[in-house]
């Protein structure tokens, strides 16, 4: 039969090994939590990842073995690559997508444990509904849309396999999910668990399994983040790579800070003057000129602020190129951390300025100034 062939094909694609099954189970852990988070209004983008991902830990969650989750494991791969440039937790949204889809199926299968076409249609509808809800999330849900139709089809095929599994003596357990009192408008009062053959079903091992699978999900995120970890299998080796990476980054920071300290003892960061002179009125292409005078081998210490302020404005009017020669009449009376010589007067001048200067106006030009650096 076509569907059977399709089933086996997808199965082979996903390599229905134990590892994948575990991964399939793990993706459903986040079902209820993400469900709530999606449907509840997420206020801002600065929600903590720990808050987001720690929620499953606070519950004694039961897993619903939805066969469609096997398909979901293949789904995150393209979205990971799409979001590769975004270092910060691209797979958050991927997990949200997974949970969106899996929670739909959870709701669908919950109604009837056995074969019938009703849950599939309802799951289709609720998929669309949930899809609309998920659309309100940031734009990364686009990747999930083409996959909506597929899981529904797969689900039907997988259901048949599921019954075979049941016949093999898998156990079933139901527990009241503790998330009834939570915000989500769609309630899931009972979550049925279907464990694999030979696995214990008491609460401790289930919780431990949930925890382990959560850890595996995080490890996958880490593997995406650290370059070169994708091909490595095995937690210990991946951890090795991560440790190496962190150590190398820390060493780089040390080295760079030493380098910055030693670049030139007479280099000044005259950001104060920048702030006072240019209060955000510079166009962008002038900013490199502003930064250049900062990083300046100090020629003279004397000079008053007036002079060099005027000179900086003069320079700003030109079209400077980064690294181009600059006039040598720049006077940099201020001193900074990166300079040896510091005259007392200029330091006090500085002191007065920083304390009294409007910090707000400082921040905006600072950012724009150094943005050019970046």
């Amino acid at each position: 039969m076509e569907s059977k062939a399709g089933t086996t094909e997808t199965r082979s694609n996903i390599t229905a090994s134990d590892g994948e099954q575990v991964a399939a189970l793990e993706s459903l852990q986040f079902t209820d939590e993400f469900h709530r988070l999606i449907l509840a209004p997420t206020s801002d983008n600065v929600t903590s990842l720990t808050a987001l991902l720690e929620l499953p830990a606070s519950r004694a969650l039961e897993l619903l073995h939805s066969p469609a989750s096997a398909k979901l494991i293949a789904a995150p791969a393209p979205s990971f690559e799409a979001l590769k440039g975004n270092f910060l937790f691209p797979s958050n949204t991927t997990l949200i997508d997974q949970a969106a889809r899996s929670s739909v199926f959870a709701g669908g299968v919950n109604n009837t444990n056995n074969k019938s076409n009703a849950p599939e249609t309802t799951s289709n509808n609720s998929t669309l509904n949930l899809e609309k809800a998920v659309k309100s999330e940031p734009a990364e849900t686009e990747s999930s849309q083409p996959l909506v139709s597929d899981p529904a089809v797969e689900k039907r095929n997988f259901k048949r396999k599921d019954h075979e599994k049941k016949a093999k003596g898998s156990t079933k357990k139901s527990k009241t999910a503790a998330n009834d009192s939570s915000v989500g408008p769609e309630k899931l009062p009972y979550v049925h668990v279907r464990t694999r053959r030979g696995e214990a079903t008491d609460s401790h091992s289930l919780a431990e399994r949930a925890r382990r699978e959560k850890i595996n999900a995080r490890m996958k995120l880490l593997q995406e983040l650290v370059p070169g970890c994708n091909k490595i299998s095995g937690t210990a080796l991946v951890l090795d790579e991560i440790i190496n990476h962190v150590q190398s980054l820390q060493n780089q920071v040390e080295f760079l800070s030493m380098r910055l300290a030693a670049v030139n003892p007479r280099i000044d960061f005259n950001l104060n003057s920048i702030f006072t002179t240019e209060s955000g009125s510079l166009p962008d292409n002038k900013f490199p000129s502003m930064v250049m005078p900062l990083i300046w081998p100090e020629v003279q210490v004397n000079g008053n602020k007036q002079q060099h302020q005027q000179q900086w404005q003069f320079d700003a009017l030109q079209q400077p190129v980064w690294g181009r020669e600059v006039c040598n009449n720049y006077i940099t009376p201020e001193n900074s951390l990166l300079s040896y010589d510091s005259s007392a007067n200029s330091a006090t001048l500085h002191a007065n300025q920083t304390e009294n200067g409007a910090m707000k106006s400082e921040e905006v030009p600072t950012v724009r100034v150094v943005e050019r650096l970046l």
Partner: protein, 168 residues
């Protein structure tokens, strides 16, 4: 934490510059090592505060900014210990007579993983107090922040090097 890379950079730069300015007034003359320490301290604090207290490592870093420089001698010793332990365990199970290879490898793997997590805990600021789940999340965040820090510092160093060239 859906902060994109660039806003994190901006936050870090802002706070770093503020920190550097404040350091200015403390010591008129500093040796190069003191300056390096001050730079690094202000950079680390800026990076941690750019996180706005959402992560555990940032709070730990702010409260205890002085961390020992990571050493690289750990790896060889751990590899040796691993070999010794493995041989010991195999000898032990050979004595018992049980041919449970799966369990042996699993326990060895667990031991390795445990060692690695201990090392990772020592690397991440404030890592000793986290469980495994939190540790991995903190590592994710810490790695991205370190990357941002390295990027900014590197661009600054290269810019200053370029600027000082024509005047030497």
């Amino acid at each position: 934490m859906h902060l994109p890379h660039s806003t994190l950079k901006q936050e870090f730069v802002k706070k770093w510059i503020m920190g550097l300015q404040r350091c200015k007034f403390s010591n008129k003359k500093m040796s190069i090592f003191e300056r390096k320490k001050a730079i690094k301290l202000s950079a680390d604090t800026a990076m941690a505060s750019a996180r706005k207290g959402l992560t555990c490592w940032s709070r730990a870093l702010i409260s205890n900014p002085d961390r020992p420089v990571p050493t690289t001698t750990r790896r060889a010793s751990s590899a040796c210990k691993k070999i010794v332990k493995r041989s010991r365990r195999i000898r032990r199970t050979a004595k018992c007579g049980a041919a449970r290879k799966g369990q042996i490898t699993r326990s060895i793997a667990q031991c390795l993983v445990r060692k690695r997590t201990q090392i990772l805990k020592s690397l991440i600021p404030g890592g000793e107090f986290m469980n495994e789940v939190c540790l991995i999340e903190e590592t994710l965040d810490y790695i991205t922040s370190l990357r941002v820090q390295v990027d900014v510092m590197r661009s600054l160093a290269s810019a200053s090097a370029r600027a000082s060239e024509p005047h030497n």
